[in-house]
Amino acid sequence: MSEQLTFTYTIDGDDFTRAGEASSSVKNKLKMLGVSSDAIRKVAIAMYEGEINMVIHAEGGTISVSVSDDAVTMVLADRGPGIPDIDKAMQEGYSTAREDVRSLGFGAGMGLPNMKRFTDEMQIDTVIGEGTTITMKVYL
């Protein structure tokens, strides 16, 4: 593939049961494009954590995923509350998730550290009261 392919998704912030559909779709698309299973796994885990975060912390948003010869780039943009202290949010175990989110199996404070662990580049741009944009890259 010499040209860049881009897929975009709208994430519904109210529907926890459907969270992960975008990540699932990307996983299938990358498989069809012949991307290595190692890279697909990294993209799937990182994007899924980000997608879940958009639903439980930020009322949804949009995700765009582009695939080029050398990387998969994911941009997750939401209009949620923003992240007041990024260093703290990046710590394993730090979570502001409510009890009802914990009972759904999330809120361990592992998502952002996982996203960092499974990607080669990650950048968080956040403005309090306006939203958060997380850009992640997995090299191919």
Binding site: A19, R41, G105, F106
Partner: protein
């Protein structure tokens, strides 16, 4: 150990995936927090959990898990089973608690991944 052998050892029942019963697994992960599964599952291909919602199946899908074992008699709903069917992930349910389930499979030679 095949999925069929796990089913028998755990007195479990197939909720989906009898046709996958001959798949073989060596490494198992157990947790109720899905982010822990995503972080630490590694090469494990079986997930034991007491959590029962669609995100369990989604998490399994992201990690290429071949079999989910629900403990304590938890029963996934039709929506969850449809997801699992779509991804060819076998689903077992056992009445054993988490500790006992893990112990039985460990005795049969299965190990944790990391």
């Amino acid at each position: 150990m095949t999925i069929r052998e796990m089913k028998e050892a755990l007195d479990a029942k197939f909720l989906y995936g009898e046709e996958l019963a001959d798949l073989d697994a060596q490494f198992v992960f157990s947790a109720d927090m899905m982010s822990d599964v995503l972080a630490y599952c590694g090469k494990c291909s079986v997930l034991i959990t007491g959590l029962c919602n669609p995100q369990v199946v989604r998490t399994a899908e992201m990690l290429d898990i071949v079999c989910i074992i629900f403990v304590r008699g938890k029963l996934p709903d039709e929506n969850m089973l449809a997801l699992a069917r779509g991804k060819s992930i076998a689903v077992l349910a056992t009445d054993h608690y988490m500790f006992t389930t893990c112990g039985i499979l460990y005795e049969h030679g299965l190990r944790g991944g990391a």
